[in-house]
């Protein structure tokens, strides 16, 4: 189907494309090991977050949590904010985003273009200052509504009801699903659906490992695990550093023509690891992974050109996923 009543109806249904050049070669006679990319940049605002934003708003409307004209408050470092801004605009809500000030300039411009208001939390102050900023805002505006993507079951449900079924329909022979681990919504929702339907499927997480500036002096006792996270859905979990993420992001566009953001590179890195394990074990594998968004919003980082060392330096201190 290519005709929709409105932009909101055009969410999901993204293409799954094979990566014949990046898939590992197998010895003659061995079963094939193939990589497949789910192009989530083909969503209305260009990222996988459109699915969660739409489901969270829809369910909040149905439950009465959101009423026409309400203000939505969402702490976000980018794509969720952009997706929510679009949904809020079309559904008649005002959106206020709280975000760290060290996100890319494009994200800020996009949010403002979609009509969102932005309150910055200081990047250098770390989590304590973000907490302080958030508490201050909440005290001043007790009537603002939060959707809280880290703990909102509608976030995972979006993927249980759309991403998972789409993958199974397009790739019934799927053996591995690899996605990024942030709010954990994509992996929990898609993972649960696929585990119910496909015997032996492996659900694999790739999480970004940022430069030291981001972790800073984060106290181990004040850590955070999203409420949505359920480790039993996952089979493996990879931590992918900036350098590997950049390397794979560049390979995606150089070898397969897919221009993606750095989180997708990190996911490809984990996908290649499981693909190579399958080759070693002589097992057939159809590894589907998520391309979360396109590279447009990250061009200003300069990390698409120059040496890997330059790119690593350019992304130091940035939340690239």
């Amino acid at each position: 189907m290519a005709r929709y009543e409105s932009l909101l109806d055009a969410c999901g249904g993204t293409p799954l494309v094979g990566l014949p050049r990046l898939s590992p070669t197998v010895p003659e006679g061995a079963p094939p090991v193939r990589l497949w990319a789910k192009l989530e940049d083909r969503n209305p605002t260009g990222s996988i977050k459109d699915r969660a934003a739409l489901f969270m708003v829809r369910e909040a409307e149905e439950s009465g949590h959101l009423r026409p004209g309400d203000t939505i408050l969402e702490p976000t470092s980018g794509n969720t904010g952009i997706a929510l801004a679009m949904v809020a605009k079309l559904r008649g809500y005002r959106l206020v985003c709280v975000m760290p000030e060290n996100v890319s300039a494009e994200r800020i411009q996009l949010l403002r273009m979609y009509g969102a208001e932005i309150i910055f939390s200081p990047a250098a102050g770390g989590s304590n200052q973000a907490v302080a900023t958030a508490k201050q805002i909440a005290a001043e505006h007790p009537d603002w509504k939060m959707l809280f993507q880290y703990g909102n079951p509608a976030n995972a449900r979006a993927h249980y009801e759309t991403t998972g079924p789409e993958l199974l329909h397009d790739l019934p022979t799927i053996t591995h699903f690899v996605a990024g681990l942030g709010t954990t919504g994509t992996l929990m929702g898609t993972g649960r659906f696929l585990k119910e339907k496909v015997d032996g499927i492996q659900i694999v997480a790739a999480e970004p490992r940022y430069g030291e500036l981001v972790y800073g002096l984060r106290n181990i006792d004040e850590g955070y695990v999203p409420e949505l996270y359920d480790a039993s859905v996952l089979d493996r979990r990879f931590s992918v550093g900036t350098r590997d993420a950049v390397l794979r992001t560049r390979q995606l566009v150089e070898v397969e023509g897919i221009f993606a953001g750095f989180s997708s590179g990190a996911i490809l890195h984990a996908a290649l690891a499981v693909a190579h394990d399958a080759v070693k074990a002589g097992r057939r594998a159809d590894v589907a992974f998520v391309v979360c968004d396109g590279g447009w919003k990250y061009l200003s980082t300069g990390a698409y050109g120059g040496t890997l060392n330059d790119a690593e330096e350019a992304l130091e201190g940035q939340l690239w996923a």
Binding site: P75, A130, E207, Y215, S239
Partner: protein
């Protein structure tokens, strides 16, 4: 047997400021005991009094989360690379703000 261990900033007070230290052991438990012998107090920051891995600590063996490799029983070999990191969600700061707003 030498295993390279990357220490996060917050725990470097135990390693004299060292970012990377070396340890030995054929399992994660053995490695942490070895590290604690050289850097007194480190174990207490990684392991709970009940003997499990601290909830907000992530340990990776060659970039893979050790919780999916047998946790403290995970087998280690010479040349493995270990990374210790505080647990943070993607987006890193937004979640803390969100949690604060909701009083969690």
């Amino acid at each position: 047997m030498a295993i390279e261990v990357r220490i996060p900033t917050i725990l470097r007070s135990y390693t004299g400021g060292a970012k990377i230290v070396e340890g030995a052991g054929d399992s994660l438990t053995a490695l942490i005991d070895d590290l604690d012998a050289k850097h007194n107090g480190l174990k207490g920051r990684l392991i709970t009094p009940e003997g499990g891995l601290h909830k907000f600590v992530n340990i990776y063996v060659n970039d893979e989360d050790v919780r999916f490799l047998g946790a403290l029983d995970a087998k280690l070999s010479d040349g493995d690379s270990i990374t210790i990191l505080p647990a943070v969600a993607g987006g890193a700061l937004g979640f803390v703000a969100a949690a604060a707003l909701l009083g969690r």
